[in-house]
Symmetry: C2
Subunit: 235 residues, 2 copies
DNA sequence: GCAAATGAGTGAACGCCGTTTACTATCGCA
DNA sequence: TGCGATAGTAAACGGCGTTCACTCATTTGC
């Protein structure tokens, strides 16, 4: 690892200037407002210059989405680490942080999770390799849950009710966490579905017909879910 | 109601031709591929002619989204009515039909639920007035559940655990269905969250990292939810 | 039956956009 | 000092939504 040359410094500065401009446009005008010409205008440049740094607009947006996902993951990891040593507290903190970030950054949430372009997606089909941002997001939630199960296996609902077909269908998830019984994997997915469903409905304003304060609903559903993981510990 | 004039017939025919073209572009190229010029080209016309029928591209897409939502609702109502007289069977049929339609029409699902443009949304903030397509979608699921509760109130989880804040937050939903206890309203929302979350994750390919066969997971989660509504009936 | 009004459609234009190409000036290194 | 790599430019192409002035057929009212 050698010191970056002057050229390299200028280049990375330009790259981050471009991405800053893209994000500014994203936040003020939505994903559609990101355009090479507008970014270049803001920087006092012409549009073709950006092609020295990104092969296309789509590549730029993809890169930006990756940064945003990283930012979200750091936010979540910080919240988890600040929540104390109890895995269940870590789950509460991480879930609340996920909602908070999403509600405060609705446009960014849309870019990362909204499947706006093919390829811009927090969940690539194959997110197995280490360092993959999708896997990183998953791990923030999975790690405390696995630790909770390791410390004190809780009485899992539906024990023994999961049939062979579902067991086989869950193969990708189970390969990554062979230590978990299939019922726990199932419970985990159900929790993630609830979390993702509630947050995206709130971000997209699809709960207003039913609920005035989405946070109250979120906290209640979160508590109900965690109760399932808390086999008679008397909390 | 008088018979439509020749002019009116030609006009409605042109309108539906335009929307057919828009949908064809939507299905083959995604929401971004809908363009006035492409629609006009397919019809052997020029783009400005479409402004005789729609005030803007956005209005056209909004109209198309409304049609698609109606189509989905009809699909769901047909499935519900075909599921027999038992409310719980109706819920199974409707939920499965929702997943089926969404998986088979992923681009349409995206246009209706994906919040692509401000205003294109199955869930307007105020969907109270009768005939509203958003309310119609809700009713397909709510009606059987209300009927189930009317026939045989089931032991509801969390009975008495819902605090005043959540009760107040659920006001919009409860005003529409005052006969339901707040715990049932809460359960209903939790079911819808699961349904919507699972289906949109499947449509957006955000489950591939965990599951090979999303239908198996869907059926399992659906069964687990319905079990909560089925207080000891021994089904 | 004929003139006026209405409606549908066209072509040209404006200002956006992504992207490519050819060209120029600058920077870093030998 | 000179040379290659790099960053930037201007011009152009084709596509887009939208507006405007205009033509032509159809309908309507007298």
């Amino acid at each position: 690892m050698t010191a970056p040359t002057r050229r390299e410094r200028l280049r990375t500065a330009a790259v981050s200037d471009i991405k800053d401009g893209a994000r500014r446009l994203l936040v003020t005008g939505g994903p559609q407002a990101i355009s090479l010409r507008a970014i270049a205008r803001d920087m006092g440049m012409t549009a073709p210059a950006i092609y020295r740094y990104f092969p296309s607009l789509e590549a730029l947006v993809l890169d930006l989405a990756g940064d945003l996902l990283d930012e979200l993951c750091e936010h979540l990891e910080a919240a988890r680490d600040a929540a104390g040593a109890e895995p269940i507290d870590q789950l509460v903190g991480t879930a609340r942080a996920f909602r908070r970030w999403s509600v405060r950054h609705p446009v960014e949430f849309r870019l990362v999770f909204g499947n706006l372009m093919p390829g811009v997606d927090a969940f690539p089909d194959d997110c197995g390799y280490p360092g993959d941002p999708g896997a990183r997001l998953g791990d923030v939630f999975i790690t405390p849950l696995v630790e909770l199960w390791r410390r004190r296996p809780f009485p899992v609902p539906l024990a023994g009710q999961v049939d062979a077909g579902l067991t086989e269908a869950l193969a990708p998830l189970r390969e990554k966490h062979p230590e978990l019984p299939v019922e726990v994997a199932c419970l985990m997915l159900s929790g993630w579905t609830m979390l993702y469903g509630l947050v995206s409905m709130e971000v997209y304003h699809q709960l207003r017909w039913a609920v005035t304060d989405p946070e109250a609903l979120f906290d209640a559903e979160l508590a109900a879910f965690l109760q399932q993981l808390d086999g008679g510990s008397g909390r």
